[in-house]
């Protein structure tokens, strides 16, 4: 009821926006911003209501958005990861429910991969329109090191164990891991739980049932982490290696580590840091199966994409929706492709040949397209009140400061 009232209120004031005004849009400030900036410039040429893009540095983004949304100077439109990242705003009735808008607008409804559109919403409602590339987590590896040691990219757990043993014997760290940043460790838990217990286990947790942490598959995943750590699969000093400052990627491109489990942005990171390596030696594959696991080896974890959501208090709702619609345009998708991103639009496949690396783009697109399930990164899928303790507990597990059993107990207890 209150929601409907709010929406109606915004609808009316949105109409008055036709005589001009400004929409503020917050975006996560990284290399991809230039694509959004171009879209804004183009939109402003034809619209009476102008969009003003505010690029917030990545590390401050979540904090700044949160503070702004609690203040009178909140943005009208803002970048997010969908799922838990928008739950507090949905609960506070601060977001425009876009379900009916999307369903009645063919270009939005049919423009994007359906699984991606759903992944950005909550409780079956749509709160965001996809606006960036897909970011599945993949297993990257050093092709030369694999060739020298007569190994193939691992498909099964047995392959993986074999690779670990071989590389360790050569004094090469099997996996680079930026443990100091905590979130790279989370990727291991995400894939292990998916392969061991299937995506349903985390879905239950994401839907608010914390007893889901008590599922035997969670314990098994945590035990597998401990085994890998004890084996030395991540080397000895991963606790003091970062991803953010380039520590872990450098280990991979210098041949000190053989593999790196990371989001698809690892490709552009390597291209920036070690272009030669990225072009010649960087290989990629899906996360292998885990012995005895029931999960589908085609499942993917990571960030389906990013979304624009609209603040329910905006004075220019119609203009904001019009801006969001431009995200489905061919031009916008093309701009993303040129930037090295893989758009989540349904016709993206036909454009990928113009990508800086068509093979990587195609592999990534088909990985996501064929995936029966795409689990959103846990720290984005869960509200911050669960996500922060989760990252802490994962870090303790990897650092050997808690046992797999203690991890499960601690996560079940988070309220």
């Amino acid at each position: 009821m209150v929601m409907a009232g709010l929406l109606a209120g915004c609808g009316t004031s949105g109409g008055s926006g036709s005589d001009g005004g400004t929409i503020t849009a917050y975006v996560y400030g990284d290399d991809a911003v230039k694509v959004q900036q171009a879209a804004v410039t183009k939109f402003n040429k034809t619209s009476k209501v102008k969009v003003k893009l505010v690029s917030v540095p990545g590390t401050d983004y979540v904090n700044k958005l949160r503070s702004a949304m609690g203040s009178p100077s909140a943005p009208d439109v803002f970048f997010n990861w969908g799922g838990g990242s928008i739950k507090p705003y949905v609960d506070a009735k601060q977001l425009v429910d876009l379900t009916s808008t999307v369903n009645s607008t063919p270009e939005l409804k049919d423009g994007f991969l359906p699984s991606i559109m759903t992944a950005g919403g909550l409780d079956g409602k749509i709160y965001g329109v996809p606006m960036r590339g897909m970011q599945p987590v993949m297993l990257f590896y050093n092709k030369s090191l694999f060739a020298e040691n007569k190994l193939e990219a691992p498909k099964t757990w047995e392959d993986l164990q074999n690779a670990i043993t071989t590389f360790k014997a050569k004094g090469i760290t099997p996996f680079a891991l930026g443990g100091a940043d905590k979130w790279p460790e989370l990727m291991w838990m995400e894939y292990l739980l998916d392969r061991i217990g299937g995506p349903e286990v985390f879905q239950k947790i994401q839907n608010g049932d914390t007893s889901g942490w008590g599922d035997p598959a969670v314990l098994k995943a945590a035990q597998t982490v401990k085994e890998l750590v004890d084996q030395g699969a991540f080397g000895k000093n991963f606790n003091s290696v970062d991803y953010g400052n380039g520590g872990a990627p450098t280990l991979l491109n210098k041949g000190k580590a053989a593999m790196h489990l990371m989001g698809s942005w690892e490709y552009s990171t390597q291209l920036g840091k070690a272009p030669e390596f990225a072009k010649k030696d960087l290989g990629w594959t899906a996360f292998p199966t885990v012995a005895g696991g029931v999960g589908d080896a085609a499942d993917v974890v990571g960030n389906p994409t990013n979304y624009w959501s609209i603040n329910a208090r905006t004075k220019h709702k119609d203009a904001a929706i019009a801006f969001l619609k431009t995200m489905a345009s061919q031009d916008y998708a093309k701009a993303l492709v040129d930037n090295g991103d893989i758009p989540t639009t349904s016709n993206a496949a036909s454009m990928l040949s113009t990508s800086p690396n068509p093979q990587f783009a195609n592999d990534q697109y088909s990985l996501v397209q064929k995936a029966p399930s795409f689990t959103l990164s846990w720290d984005q899928a869960l509200e911050s009140k669960y996500a922060t303790p989760l990252l802490t507990e994962i870090s303790k597990l990897f650092a050997g400061k808690s046992t797999p059993e203690q991890f499960v107990t601690a996560m079940k207890a988070v309220k």
Partner: protein, 309 residues
């Protein structure tokens, strides 16, 4: 008569007439008091109020009674953070005080190299904490940092930041490295105030360098030590930026000191009520420690070190 009496009373309340010359009225302190109220007292009061609320930063705060406080006393993470903060403070104090004191006393002298070296020592204080933390972070990178070259010479495992003790000691060391020049400066000032005649007399009595240091310099500096220690303790208790940049509270939670726990609770978990309770507890602990130190060092009595001279 009625005009005269208060005058006499006032005179009686004062120690000496000379001491009053030029002492300004209270109203002069008003701007300062106002500034302090707006930027320190009011926020503190709001924090204390919030510690009795539940607040996610989006909706309005809702009163929660003593919930946050009962949780605080039962929370093992808070206990660990409090312990780590005290440990960090102790280590920082024990490490900084002797070095800063000796350097300060030395810098108060008249050696030729002194001025140049003092200027060099002073540099760390001019750098921003963030820059320093990032610098040491790069130096201590376990794969590519200088530590991988130099560490083995001294039998140090390059994975310093990955071990719990190593990470905490590093945080204490980096803090010490940055703030020691400041304390050196305080001790230098203190040492220069010590009257030359004391040393001249001691020399005539045949006292050597060590006796002079322990029987003149140290006792004369005891109020300087208190001042510097209070600043050091309050500084170490609220030490935050280095932890955020160098360790992010890790490995695990082994460098999650109180200010970092407060930041994590407030600005990552958005449990601002509980974060306010942690902040309030931190204020109470810091104030208590400073008061204890001032009381037991005799600093509060404001007796002059030159009494009896």
């Amino acid at each position: 008569m009625s005009h005269h009496t208060p005058h006499v009373k006032t005179r009686g309340g004062r120690k000496t007439a000379v001491g009053n010359v030029g002492r300004p009225p209270v109203s002069w302190a008003l701007p300062g008091i106002l500034f302090f109220a707006v930027f320190a007292i009011v926020p503190l009061a709001i924090a204390v109020y919030l510690s009795f609320c539940q607040w996610d930063g989006l909706n309005s705060p809702t009163p929660a009674g003593l919930d946050n406080w009962t949780r605080l006393f039962k929370d093992p993470e808070f206990r660990q953070a409090a312990w780590l903060s005290l440990l960090l403070t102790t280590v920082s104090w024990a490490f900084q005080t002797p070095v800063a004191l000796l350097l300060g006393v030395w810098a108060a002298g008249r050696q030729r190299s002194r001025a140049v070296l003092s200027a060099v020592f002073f540099i760390p204080l001019l750098l921003s904490t963030t820059a320093i933390a990032m610098l040491f972070h790069a130096l201590l990178d376990p794969n590519f940092g200088v530590i991988t070259e130099i560490g083995p010479w001294f039998g140090i495992d390059p994975n310093i930041m990955g071990s719990s003790t190593g990470a905490l000691l590093t945080v204490a060391f980096v803090g010490g490295w940055q703030f020691m020049p400041f304390h050196t400066l305080i001790y230098q000032g203190g040492a220069r105030q010590i009257p030359e005649v004391l040393y001249q007399a001691a020399e005539m009595d045949g006292a050597g360098m060590f006796r002079q240091f322990f029987h003149i310099t140290l006792p004369q500096l005891r109020h300087t030590i208190t001042t510097s220690s209070v600043l050091m303790i309050v500084g170490s208790l609220t030490y935050f930026d280095t932890v955020l940049i160098m360790t992010k509270g890790g490995p695990g939670t082994d460098t999650t000191v109180l200010p970092y726990l407060m930041y994590r609770t407030g600005f990552q978990t958005y449990d601002l009520g509980y974060a306010a309770a942690i902040a309030t507890a931190l204020v109470v602990v810091a104030t208590a420690l400073s008061l204890i130190l001032v009381r037991f060092s005799g600093f509060g009595n404001m007796r002059s070190t030159r009494e009896g001279m």
